[in-house]
Symmetry: C2
Subunit: 311 residues, 2 copies
Amino acid sequence: MRYLARPEAELTLPLVNRAVEAAFSEHGHGLVQMPPKLYVTIGTGDFRTMPAYLPSAGIAGVKVVNVHPDNPLIGLPTVMALLIILDVRTGTPLAILNATALTDLRTGAAGAVATKYLCPEKSIDLGMVGAGRQAVALARAISVEKEIRTIKVSSRSLSSARRFCKSFPGIDCRVVSPEDACDTDVLVTATPSRVPLIRDEWIADGTHINAMGADAPGKEELDPALLSRARVFVDDLKQAVHSGEMNVPVASGLYHPDRVAGTIGEVVNGLLGRLKREEITIFDSTGLAIQDLAVAALALKQKGGIELQFP
Amino acid sequence: MRYLARPEAELTLPLVNRAVEAAFSEHGHGLVQMPPKLYVTIGTGDFRTMPAYLPSAGIAGVKVVNVHPDNPLIGLPTVMALLIILDVRTGTPLAILNATALTDLRTGAAGAVATKYLCPEKSIDLGMVGAGRQAVALARAISVEKEIRTIKVSSRSLSSARRFCKSFPGIDCRVVSPEDACDTDVLVTATPSRVPLIRDEWIADGTHINAMGADAPGKEELDPALLSRARVFVDDLKQAVHSGEMNVPVASGLYHPDRVAGTIGEVVNGLLGRLKREEITIFDSTGLAIQDLAVAALALKQKGGIELQFP
């Protein structure tokens, strides 16, 4: 059994995007095992336990990841993750990965894959609401799939928004209001908000939205009216109803899961997609354990790491 | 973050039993967080993911443990486990433990605590059906709580039964038939059986049974008639219905969970117990994540281990 402190070291964004795309496809075909993630609250946050088996990549394991938004106040990351990988025949632990950076990569890839399939333009103006680590990862991953003309970024913190733009020196990046960030071809929301930030009337027909931030009960970023106006795709329906963008509107009766068009896996598999240029599409992403395993399978091709005595 | 390859090194059985007893008590008071364990099948077995938070011990984390009964054919253990421990305030990973031996210890302690409270005799004849690692751990842990006059052990494998007896050189230990193993004060079943091994008519009034083996859907060791005849205590009702001794009889309608007397935590807390000398008591044990955390909290008092770079 080995420990990898920097499993992301040799990964490239195109490889990561394709690995996550393949995992979505397998999920769309119903070939993965992935019980809905479990939540345990500790301190002012929670940790999530995410087991899965992704047969095509020959990988199985469990991600353990916390979310503690107050951590930066004491110099710690909000999100930290470990991933345990098991031999798919015998259950023997093979590797433990520091999965914090892998989590950013696989989250970015999810938004990128959804954008590839659901946004019809090759060249886009990209709107970002939220400017943290995941926002940077999302814009980077999307830049692999689309030519980005401009980024309009909005954040509660002006310094975060400016820092975000510095991560994209080759792109025209502007700090704007939330409303102006919505005046784009593709909108990405990546905040920890518990109230809708994006108003229905700000979104023009034809927009594609990656709703990435809501990943726990009580979190939401979009006006529920937007969900009803749009065609909504999920990564996994059970997780979306429990903790995705739709969790609050579903709980309050403003949205019904029967209205969901389908999964991103079905989109990747060509069974579903955008029907009309002018419709609004939303990808409600909760984050799947199979995304982590797909990226881990790439990372494990590299040699090295620290050998740990086991058993 | 540190890795402990031998976290069991400095533990003593009395300390382990008391830690598990305290965890059961806290569970009985409804003070722990512990979602039911998740199962993922890989190869010819499965792995289980067990997150929990045990506030009184100030510990939270996740155990990942496989069960692959064919592994010994290729020289690997049937069960291997890792435990990730997180800081309860910030979610920061603090330690990773090789939890294979800890799993034996906490399973033994569960049977020992149940025996302490539900068997009225101080000095007992102990019956064992199953003679593997967990059986040895159970008999050792029970020997802390009760004086053991004789052990009667039964196993499909004569060599396993003889090896078991060699683990107890100071005790009169005999290899017997399953029926003869039942002619004791306390019976422990610790097999991977999927058919009832223990017939109702073999069990005398007043016996206490620790039903330890059934820990996944489809597994059972006892004649369902025994459940109906006995007062049944569980470690956790949801887990017992899903994967404990009662899972098959409940699924087939031969037993109803409403008949369960209560949890071992309620027994430890003095709210429940044996009512009459002549009644049969059964402890249906599935194994709780909080047992692992309770023992890990003891193990983490020791220094040492390998420091791992994180994040």
